[in-house]
């Protein structure tokens, strides 16, 4: 289990800008584009991506901030999106800290899970707040289709977020330890070291 990386000013600035631009793009454009009869929802994908890249604390704070911004910009009940996205950011961050999954498909699975939590959670909170609505097949279909659409775009969104924040991410302590250990041993076995092309070239020149 590794510690969550520390947060620096550059990361904060990038995350704030990313959050603001993402919410504006979401509510002014993406929400009005229909795919399979539903619209994609970038917010859980971005929060989950930040969690996966930067850890649980930045993920949770990003989730809270983006949720609050969405609720404020759309003049809807404050706190609903903050609550859900905080959980999503924290969960994705913990996955990064505990497991540090490196498989390429991890962002897709995490994106799908984040969207499912966001959509189902939002519907549940609406019901808890007293919306008198039947749990219709259509509602379930919409939730499933939104998860499907978000799953398709999860990887590009993750890649974009990684590209935007990668330069500001503090170095992961576990990877730093691994690299230090590799530099001590040369990173390769003694056999392969002796057989490395550079050494062989040097050896040839000496003779």
């Amino acid at each position: 289990m590794n510690a969550s990386p520390t947060i620096n000013v550059s990361l904060i600035v990038r995350l704030v800008l990313l959050g603001i631009v993402a919410v504006l793009v979401q509510i002014t454009a993406i929400s009005q584009i229909s795919l399979l009869g539903v619209s994609a929802d970038l917010t859980p994908l971005i929060v989950a991506s930040v969690g996966l890249l930067a850890g649980s604390i930045p993920g949770a704070i990003m989730g809270f901030g983006m949720g609050l911004f969405v609720d404020t910009a759309l003049v809807q009940t404050l706190g609903v999106d903050s609550l859900l996205l905080t959980g999503i950011g924290y969960g994705a961050g913990r996955l990064h800290e505990v497991r540090d999954p490196s498989h390429t498909l991890v962002p897709i699975a995490v994106g799908a899970a984040a969207t499912a939590i966001s959509q189902i959670g939002f519907s549940l909170i609406q019901f808890l707040l007293g919306v008198d609505a039947p749990v219709s097949w259509l509602l379930l279909r919409e939730i499933l289709f939104t998860i499907a659409v978000n799953t398709v775009i999860a990887l590009p969104v993750y890649a974009l977020v990684r590209r935007l924040v990668a330069g500001a991410l503090p170095e992961d302590p576990r990877r730093r330890r691994a690299r230090r250990a590799a530099s001590v041993t040369g990173g390769l076995s003694p056999l392969s070291q002796s057989a490395s092309p550079r050494r062989r070239r040097r050896g040839l020149r000496a003779t």
């Binding site: 009005q32 604390i57 003049v75 809807q76 905080t86 219709s136």
Partner: protein, 297 residues
């Protein structure tokens, strides 16, 4: 060291979750003029020009994506629209005849045709949709017209097809429109042919399914009938909407459901997922005022 990090992480999570719950509780129990809602309105005032700019800048991208999507179902839509056109052509012929008859009848009862009011009487203000709720519940949109354009709370909002919703929050340059699919919405409506009235409410989660409830028990509503706003019927309790604004067509009129719950299902004319421009009727009671004026003369 590790324990300290774990404690800090958990404390931050607890703080954020606690804050969210406090906001949720405070906002839910707050009155219309409460501090949180005032802050939200202030933020809307700040954000609306940015949203407007972003909406304009991203419109080509939005149109392109929608165009790709539309191309796939264009063929189906074309054949469906051709059928609709044939039906509507017949209706137009019938309607033209009815208009002529109506004019003749009005002349017969000495009604002044010049006082006949159209939509322009309600002083419509056209606004561009600059933001919309991303949730499945399709509850609100934000438009770029506000109190400086004469827009106020509770004014009806239409698009080219029919009723869309009503204004629920206004700043000087923007207004939030709560759609007719919101669970708080209830529109007094009439089945045009029968003149049977009821309340149109949402079946939440589905923007294409509204419920026209509280119809007369023996109502003979049929599928395909047009539903319009009832308008003002009582001098004590004015309806927010002028009479005769088209809302949708009846898509399901199950006799059992009609007997048990006195309700039918209605599909709105307006495509609430794709609203680019809407009109806010800034003087929704103009007709009432005019007819009251005529009555006193």
């Amino acid at each position: 060291m590790y324990d300290k990090q774990v404690r800090r992480r958990r404390a931050i999570l607890a703080l954020l979750v606690g804050l969210s719950l406090i906001l949720l509780t405070a906002f839910f129990g707050e009155s219309v003029g409460g501090p949180l809602k005032t802050i939200q309105r202030g933020m809307l005032e700040v954000l609306s020009p940015i949203q407007d700019g972003a909406s304009r800048a991203l419109k080509p991208f939005k149109d392109l994506t929608n165009w790709v999507g539309d191309t796939f179902d264009a063929k189906d839509r074309a054949s469906r629209l051709e059928k609709q056109r044939d039906v509507l052509r017949k209706q137009v012929i019938g309607a033209n005849q009815a208009v002529q008859e109506n004019a003749q009848l009005k002349r017969m009862v000495n009604l002044n045709a010049k006082k006949d009011l159209s939509l322009s009487t309600y002083k419509p203000v056209t606004g561009r949709v600059i933001a919309r709720s991303p949730s499945l519940w399709f509850t609100t949109i934000t438009v770029d017209v506000g109190s400086s354009d004469g827009v106020h709370d509770n004014q009806p909002v239409l698009d080219g097809s029919g009723l869309v919703g009503k204004v629920t929050d206004v700043t000087s340059d923007a207004a939030v429109v709560t759609l007719i699919t919101d669970h708080t919405s209830g529109v007094s409506s009439t089945v045009q042919r029968l003149n049977d009235s009821g309340i149109l409410q949402t079946a939440a989660g589905n923007p294409n399914d509204l419920l026209l409830s509280f119809l007369p028990p023996k109502s003979a509503v049929k599928v395909g009938e047009t539903v319009v706003t009832s308008g003002t019927k009582s001098s004590r309790l004015d309806s927010l909407f002028p009479p005769g604004i088209p809302i949708g067509t009846v898509t399901k009129a199950d006799p059992e459901e009609l007997n048990l719950y006195q309700r039918v299902h209605v599909k709105p004319f307006a495509d609430l997922r794709r609203l680019d421009f809407v009109q806010v009727l800034t003087q929704p009671h103009a007709q009432v005022v005019a007819s009251a004026g005529a009555a006193t003369k």
